[in-house]
């Protein structure tokens, strides 16, 4: 048989062709949902695909017929080896959430520390479901929102799609953050966006830099009313500060550590920043040593 597209004269074996190193679902995995996102997804699967196709799909998934399975913007895409010579391209089309919807979601999540804490532990807390509901959002789509496509051209949602879906159940069981990927947001961006939203919440704004943190341990400041004895005076640490020798770093040290700019566009950003550093530093040195110049001027009769 020569390569190329499947021909109409193709021989179809009774059982699907074996796949080397296919993705295998083990044991009872995929049938039971261990996280709430997996549970919602399983419900979608059961609603969209008929029981016969589901059973065959489960067999496919267990015997490793799936060659690829990727979650990403636009839903789940994979290739599943059936009886035909070439694997089928199968897809669950799921609408991604709009930037504005994400923004609303993260702003809401930023209000409570639990979301950050649990997401950092790679868990999706159940409380999120009611929060989503209050925002009229869904992380796992409703069955009516998804469209199943497969080039096996089956009239009803097919076993190939089912095989993919069972792998997704497994994925959601082991890494529930993958639910965000179903909606087009990579897991690492979830944490980052939430951190941004939290920063916006605490400082009133979001910023590209990490806010400097107070030194450890953070002791709450003594209430002002208890400081009346020494109200006007600096503490003794000021003398320590004045004894600290000034730091000296290599020129452009920070800029060099940052390396090339990731921004698109042809403007030589790094080059300009280098001269910014020189100009600002020179100006600061002049200001700092201003005193000396004044003194010298005063010295001349």
């Amino acid at each position: 048989m020569t390569g190329g597209a499947r021909g109409s004269f193709e021989h179809r074996p009774a059982s699907p062709r074996r796949v080397r190193n296919g993705i295998k679902l083990r044991g009872g995995d995929g049938l039971t949902a261990r996280t709430w996102v997996a549970q919602r997804w399983l419900a979608v699967l059961e609603e969209v695909i008929g029981s016969e196709q589901r059973l065959s799909g489960l067999d496919y998934a267990r015997s490793g017929q799936t060659i690829t399975c990727e979650l990403g913007a636009g839903g789940v895409v994979g290739s599943v080896q059936g009886r035909a010579a070439q694997p089928y391209k199968t897809r669950w089309r799921i609408p991604a959430l709009a930037e504005e919807q994400w923004q609303r979601l993260f702003d809401a999540m930023a209000a409570e520390a639990v979301y950050s804490a649990r997401l950092l532990a790679r868990e999706v807390p159940e409380a999120l479901e009611s929060l989503l509901e209050s925002l009229r959002l869904r992380l796992v789509p409703a069955a009516s929102d998804v469209v199943v496509e497969c080039d096996c051209r089956s009239a009803v949602p097919c076993k190939h799609a089912a095989a993919l879906a069972y792998l997704v159940v497994h994925r959601l069981n082991t890494d529930p953050l993958a639910a965000f990927e179903l909606r087009g947001m990579p897991a690492d961006r979830v944490l980052e966006s939430l951190a941004t939203a939290r920063a916006r919440r605490t400082t009133g704004a979001a910023a590209a830099h990490t806010e400097p943190v107070p030194p450890q341990p953070i002791e709450p400041a003594r209430p002002l009313a208890e400081c009346l004895d020494s109200f006007w005076r600096p503490g003794p640490e000021l003398a320590e500060l004045q004894r600290m020798p000034p730091a000296h770093h290599a020129p452009h040290a920070l800029l060099r550590r940052m390396g090339p700019s990731p921004l698109r566009g042809g403007f030589p950003l790094v080059g300009l920043l280098a001269s910014v550093y020189d100009t600002v530093a020179e100006r600061a040195v002049r200001l700092r040593d201003h005193a000396e110049r004044l003194d010298e001027r005063d010295d001349t009769p």
Partner: protein, 1072 residues
Amino acid sequence: MLVLHVNWAEGGLRLWAESLSDFHHAQRAVTRTVATLPEVHPFAVDADVLGAALVGADLLDAGQLGGPSTLRLRLPAGSVAPRPSDRLSSAAGEIDSDGVVELRTVEVPALALANAHALAAVLRLEDRGPTDAIAFGHSLPWWIAMARFVLELLADQRFIPTVIQPSGDHGALRAAWMPWLQDESARNRMAALLASMPPVVRAVEAQGPLAEPWRILSDAVQTLSDATARHALIEADFIDAIEGRDPADDPSVAWLTGLLDRRRVVPLAPRGGDGAGLDMLRQVRSWLLRLEDADLARPFRLGFRLLEPDEAPPGGPPESWWLSFHLLVEGEPPATVELDRVWAASPAAQVVDGHHIDRPQELVLAELGRAGRVYAKIESALNEAHPLGIHLTTEEAAQFLREDREVLEESGFDVVVPQWWGKQSSRLGVRLQVHAPAEPGEPYGSEPGGGRMGLDSLVHFRWQLAVGDQPLTAEDLRQIAESTAPLIRIADRWVEKAGALARAAEVVEHDPGGEVTLRDAIRMAQGAQVRGVTDTGLPVLGLDAQGWVGRVLGLGASMEPQRPDTVDQPASFHGQLRPYQKTGLGWLAFLERFGFGACLADDMGLGKTIQLIALLLHEREQPHADAAAPGTTLLVVPTSLIRNWARELARFGPSLRHHEHHGPQRLVGEAFDRAADAHDVVITTYALVARDRETIGARRWWRVVLDEAQFIKNPPTQQASAIRLLDAQRRVALTGTPVENRLTELWSIMDFCNPGHLGPAEDFRRRCAVPIERHRDQEKAESLRRLVHPFILRRLKTDPTVIADLPACTETREYATLTPVQAALYQAIVDDLLCGVDDVSGIQRRGRVLAALTRLKQICNHPAQLPDTAVPRSVEAAGPGDDRKPLSSRSGKCARLMKMLEELLAAGDSALIFTQYRRMGHLLAAMIRQDLDIEAPFMHGGTSQPRRQEMIDRFQESDGTMPIFVLSLKTGGIGLNLTAANHVFHFDRWWNPAVENQATDRAYRIGQTRTVHVHKFVCVGTLEERIDQMIEQKTALADNVISSGEQWLTELTTEKLGEMLRLRAEAMEVDA
């Protein structure tokens, strides 16, 4: 007078000020009307008044000032008015009251500083300093430190560009310059600023997090960094660089627009909408995140080691250096895994060389990629399958050592460079070799050393080209001259080439040395130009001195030098010198022998006086020709110490004849000369040296000694110059303050001891004081230390050698005199009593005597302690009138106490002060605030129990931040544990040693780790001294005194009483 304050409000610095005259006015107003706390601060000045005052005093330029505004501040307030700030309170001479103070909100008119000019303005305030018209609130130094910190960050290029999305305004990005505060040095400074933030800085009324100290500090630091950087860029027209480019096409241009423009907005393409904003936010974030890659908590780090060419593996270009890579596994100690081991392992390996490293190859490749971003040379290694390192040319190696190394280290990589790098031993320069022709003449001769002594001695010098301490040969020089590389190998070490070498070689060859004074030689070693000596143009690496010069200059070489020529205790010394005091004596004698002046700067309580007296006795016991017999020593002391010296001389060196030169009857002209010739010591005061210049300055003195030598730092110029002009063969300065850390003092004292040693004052200030104090130049500080160390001996009570010699508790009498007003009051009360006391008898008589005794003790303490009704009419006119003088100057005891406190504070000690009188306690606290600028709590019978505990806890746990504690003898004399103190002052006397000892035991008890110094104050020539002597000598009457307090005095006959109370001549302050 105004007192200036600064606050941070509404994103900018705000200046405001209290007014002394408005304060007085407000106080008078309050007594007239029943008032409640006003909403507007009653003695804060209007913004325009403040602005005019600041500009008028040349403290600020009009251009630096912004508009007026109003602050709502939470300030300490009594029931009817805000309390004055500490500064205003001491300017007003306020004495503490025990009124209730709580926090109240008042409106204060303020003046804004434009952010772009704020740092310059704050530093200008620092330069100009407070004036008579405008004093600085105590928080000013904190703001100045904050401003310096921000400028240092900018000067060191520690800031980054960033974008911020303000809340509630999605899409409208702002660009900003942020200080980079993530490295250790910046974090430590922020921590110190935070911890030392004066509470008043937090006084601006604000809600929630905005009132947090951290928020105030980081807001100010961030805002002022951005404003200052932006201002510099706007002035330099940076915006022109993106002129004509469309920000919609290029996010870099959009970002720069926000960074360089006065408006901060980042103009993003409209079609991008919110998404474009988030996108930029994300990209900039990922860029800035690279700065945080240096996560030092990781268990493995990639490391680099620079190897010299002869250690480099073969295969590279000739003479090339080798930068090898390794993995550093954190642990105790960290382990190194060589990369060949990593490449030899399988890609999926989990263990290399016994260390658990998951997928080591991937780890190394990822880290090499990261390092390549920072140091591009490394990328070339990635062309190989299994890179182990890269070859560097000598130029590249030099560049690596100077710059790349640091950037890699900062990025979290481990970098190992050759040991010699950055060491003094691999620096190229010149050394100065000095030797003195001959040992100076015999000690204690009249003109030892043939007339040129000390710094005036002539010495031979030679320049020597050297690397570190190793001289260079002609061959080395030729090699250096031929090489063009930045690093040259000379005599087994690599040296960074200096530009001026060729010229220096020429100078050294043609003009290698000559003869100069030792003073000039020392200055040359410091890199100073000396007339007649050609400059080599290379850094001076050190001074090698031979012969006696070497011995003298080597004195301070090590921390615990072998003090030369140990001297036995003089036989005529009455008492016992402790071992460290003998060392001090030997040191003084040694330096004098070679004609050098000396500064004995031992801690208070270690016996500087005794060592000086021992020196005078010592020199008189040495064998000498008659013509070379020791002459007269002029002893210059503060007025309040004349009596003290006279008493100490009589006690420890009774064979020394001393003459006191002071008072209206003092001698002049020939009579003075005859008196001086006939005595071993002439004691006089700083003021009289200036006033009697013709008499005192006309002689050549055998020796001049300055006690409390820090006095010459800032005396009226007349005094300073008169003292400098004194002609003396030997010079000794005594001081208890840490002179080495106070550069103006140091210069003055050194210039007295060894004239010209540190060069002209102005020169010294520019070359030494400014770099050390302003820029904390460690190298300069170290070289200055070496320079003065031979001539300063300062031992601390905590020095191990001294501690062993010190008893656990020492007790001294501190003799004070009375001011003329005090004396007049004292006399008037004695006269009053003696006149009328015989008119009454029995209880009435006793009552009158007791009342008079109390008054006399109060007068000895301070005239202001006397109730107004008790001031005898005869002295009312001269009475406690002069309010403008500092409180402490109106009492001899107080003046003395303040001087002693100043000294012990400088040494980091702390003290308890006991008094019997509540009013005196308040006065003491007020004086301490006024003179020493610190707050001392006062515990007395009216202090509530919780407040007492709070005071005690704060004193015990303050670590020196609350070093002085005033207590009433009755309240504080028993039970308390105050071991944080190592000085105890008995300011007035109870006459019962048991009671006093009990008070002393507050500090001298279990838990005390230091020697406790007890100081008992006595007014000379008054009843205080007489009673003290009686107790001291255990006279028959002493028991009476002790058992009955002052009761027994009431039983004395009028005649005896008069004898007891009479004011003797020596009570009077001299030369008033």
